[in-house]
């Protein structure tokens, strides 16, 4: 009896979990991005020929690099935060501060990388 309500992705994303949930979602997106990047890389080398070359062009493009740098860096820094907190549970009480530190490290790092990528792409 009762109304079955599987929690759809959309419903789940609407839950107001604030910063920690945001990092959780971005971590998943980051992981997925890395899989796509590595997947395209392997597939392009495996297929070879013109199609493989087209794959290379995609993942080597600066737009793709801006996205993949976001995915990899966020995934790594967030993973580091989770690992540190997992190994020292007393620190978990300061999880909010940990997230602020994470963003304080991630945002400048990412912005510098984006600047370098664009600068290089535009022939710098």
């Amino acid at each position: 009896m009762g109304l079955n309500r599987n929690v759809s992705l959309n419903t789940g994303l609407q839950y107001k979990g604030r910063e920690p949930m945001l990092t959780f979602v971005l971590h998943r997106i980051g992981g997925l991005g890395i899989v796509v990047f590595v997947g395209t890389h392997i597939l392009s080398s495996f297929i070879g020929g013109q199609l493989g070359h087209a794959g290379n062009v995609v993942y080597e493009s600066w737009i793709f690099q801006i996205i993949i740098f976001f995915c990899a860096t966020f995934h790594a820094i967030n993973g580091l935060r989770i690992t540190i907190l997992d190994l020292w549970p007393p620190l978990i009480e300061h999880q909010r501060e940990a997230i602020w530190i994470e963003f304080a490290v991630f945002i400048p790092l990412y912005l510098i990388a984006v600047y370098v990528i664009i600068h290089t792409a535009l022939g710098g």
Binding site: M1, G2, L3, N4, R5, V7, T11, G12, Q14, Y15, K16, G17, R18, P20, M21, F24, I82, L85, D86, L87, P89, P90, I92, E93, Q95
Partner: protein
């Protein structure tokens, strides 16, 4: 002030799908969301169904999703929510009627972690209490405060994915006994929690900690269980 209260409605006898109904009420900002629900039930629509008992944050009956976040209706004021309020049942559990969900999977998970004191050793020589130091008692003080409202478990994406995931509330209770110096079944509980549906599926989202009306540091308690599992130490 005037508030608009949008409530999730589902009557299993007539509805195939849920819908929302909106009520406009006059309410001081010191009113609790539970007061608003009582007003609707008492004066507008007596068929509105929801659970409540103590109305003071002790029984854990009225955990609901209020403006998209799990909270106790009796502990949330209009002042905190603003004039636009949406009230929905907890996620991940079947809706029986309106705001009432089927708590069976939640309590089944709870029972899995042996939520009771286990000590088969003979009583101390005086035949009275099993004594404990203040520090030993403080070790698990926080996790004794759970009122089993399910706000934590139903805010957890791992539980949304599968209701067989034991969930934060079960871990909180497990923690309460694992770190109790008088209890003797810690290793048994740690073994249960190391199964597929145990603590390994906690992805440290912190939704549970943020949702807990008793302000229990749930993710920290889970972290301590994870560490105890790895190190085999309970200090």
């Amino acid at each position: 002030m005037q508030v608009t209260l949008k409530i999730f409605r589902f009557n299993p006898e007539v509805d195939k799908k849920w819908h929302y109904e909106t009520y406009t009420l006059d309410a001081p900002e010191t009113d609790r969301i539970l007061d608003l629900l009582e007003k609707v039930k008492g004066h507008v629509d007596g068929t509105l169904s929801f659970r409540r008992s103590c109305a003071h944050g002790v029984c854990g009956s009225d955990a609901l999703r209020i403006n998209g976040r799990n909270q106790l209706a009796c502990k949330t004021l209009v002042r905190d929510t603003g004039a636009k309020i949406t009230v929905e049942p907890l996620l991940g559990l079947k809706v029986i009627k309106d705001l009432i969900v089927d708590m069976k999977p939640f309590f089944d998970n709870y029972k899995t972690v042996l939520p009771y004191f286990i000590n088969d050793s003979p009583l101390p020589a005086d035949g009275k209490e099993r004594l404990q130091t203040i520090e030993q008692r403080a070790r698990f003080d926080e996790t004794t405060k759970c009122v089993l409202c399910a706000a934590c478990t139903t805010s957890c994406p791992s539980f949304w994915g599968s209701e067989t995931y034991l969930g934060p509330a079960a871990f909180v209770t497990a923690h309460r006994f694992i770190f109790d110096s008088r209890d003797e079944a810690a290793s048994e509980r740690l073994h249960i929690l190391s199964e597929t549906n145990g603590v390994a599926r906690c992805h440290t989202v912190y939704n549970c900690t943020m949702a807990c009306p008793r302000e229990i540091q749930i993710t920290k308690a889970i972290g301590e269980i994870k560490l105890a599992m790895i190190t085999g130490k309970l200090d």
